[in-house]
Amino acid sequence: MRGKPFISLKRMLLRPSWNKFNLYNIARKQLPSPSSGTLFQKKWIAKRETRAYHGPQLREYQLKNSFQPKVHGVTPSHENKNPIPFMSQMYAFIESRLDMSIHRAMFASSALQARQLVVHGKVSVNGLPEKRSYRVLKPGDLVTVEPKFVLHCVSALKSKNSQPASSEANTSTEKDGTSSNESKANPSNEENQETSLSKSTLDSKLESGMHNFSPKPYMALMAFIPSYLEVCFQTCSFVYVRDPVARPGLTEVPSPFPEDIHALAYSYYIRSRCMRQGAAHRQAKRLFPQRIHDPGFFRGPRDLYDPKKKSSKNSYSERYPVRRTKLPKLV
């Protein structure tokens, strides 16, 4: 049986996407009334609404596992008496994921498309290829996406060649079957030769990016770059400067919902977190030294204090061990 549609005018769930129906939903969205039902019902509705926007590509158990109850804030050294919206930092750990950052840097039209870019091997982090969309970016990471595919994701469907326009949800299907191109990072794969239609479309998009670029329709309605990214459009690369952080009166986590909705969702997730973890586990956590995000304390370039040199052979970092050898077959 088919599931419910991802973007629906009836359900009005907001998604991380530039889809015109989604933008219409964002424009006309009304918050649930504060006197709607019981406390649990409010928490549930808040969780449903915020989860639809923050990480819909994640399963619920994945989010519960990666949920961090610690929310970070920052205060300026000069006087500022505005309240700090801590609860808007609830989904900050999702924003530091590789696929979400690519979408925030405006290199993909939706979080799912950004995830597809990563999985298909068009993205490299700190010079090394990265195929894991769940990779959490650390401050200082440089992410580069291949310009040809960025232009394919971002430019209007009807180019000068007037190729038949596919539906907006399947914009990346064309580049699935593309075989050897003049790509620098990835070696050419010997797959079935696609028709020259898709190759010429990609090249024409690249040419249009150089001379006359036409953006995706209605993209300008959702055009912003969050403060924690530094994006260079010439090279289709960006740097993850720091984690998103809450400031007096401002949040850095892009979210269409105000702080009270996030607070309700936080109270939903913190309950299940407490239920799952045992008391001993919590006690052990309290004994660990606290990791302080001090943006004023600059240690210098990463090579100085991070002596681990990653060779190109071993492209995966030790933080995310990936199985290299095959498991023995069970007979």
Binding site: S8, H72, P76, V154, K184, M210, Y218, P254, P258
Partner: protein, 301 residues
Amino acid sequence: MLLKIRNYRGNQIKVNALSFSTISRLSKAVSAKQNFESSGKQGDKFTSCNTRDVTKASLNSLPKNLGDDKERVAFQQWLQSPEVKKAKFFNGAGFGLGPRRDQPFPLNPSFRPSRPTSHSVRMQISNEYRQGISVDVLARKYKTCPQRIEAIVKLRNVFDERQSHNAPVLSSYANVMEKMVNVCREPSRLQFNDHGDLPIQSRATPLWKSISEDHVFSPEEAAKTLHWPSLEEIANQNNSVGKNEIRGAVNSSHRSEELVATDEAQTGKRIFRLVDVSNGDLWKRDTAGNIYVRRQAATSN
């Protein structure tokens, strides 16, 4: 009150009667839908938009699972509105869904991203770095954090590497995107909100300290207990002059508060706090019957 209407496909849909203003409008709606089916002529005033644009073909081209006909018609109307039409193929003006230019989401007024840097400003900063100015000095000059300067230098290195490999230059794409995102091209107008940040360090367990009754626990002592950097160090770092209040310290600092009146008859259990909305002054009456005023400082943000 629910009404069952047959739409032009012959399917029954339930519609709330309150959504239509009059029943005559309802009948017009039914007739309009029948008109759509029969001929592509101009419908009645029900749709209140150019029916040339909302022909049967475009209604059918939208997938059915998005919503019912009324919602899709309303969506088509929204697409024809002047703001959205301007945004369709970006022409250079600034707009978004929110009420302000820097507020992208209408419902979230606290998310206001700062303007990103332009390519020219990044080149300028990286040139200065290459001339020998250190990261800290540059960060203080442009009022940002040193991590951002390092990021800008990294991006410049990537750009130079691409240029040396004679890769195609995406000038048109970069220009359009920078305009769309409202990039800041003047270094004097850059505002990152990065400058001089103190992390808020929360504790898992509360700290207790027993002091004598007449001892006043000042914010400086609190900072020392928490091992926070002293105010002089912070001021030297940021080259800023003046007293600053550490946020995590105890709120009542009697230095900035003036004792206005004392009335011993007014003692009570509760502490009253009032804010004067016109000035921003904070009036406080504590348990001893003293009334304090904390005047709003002139140099606050």
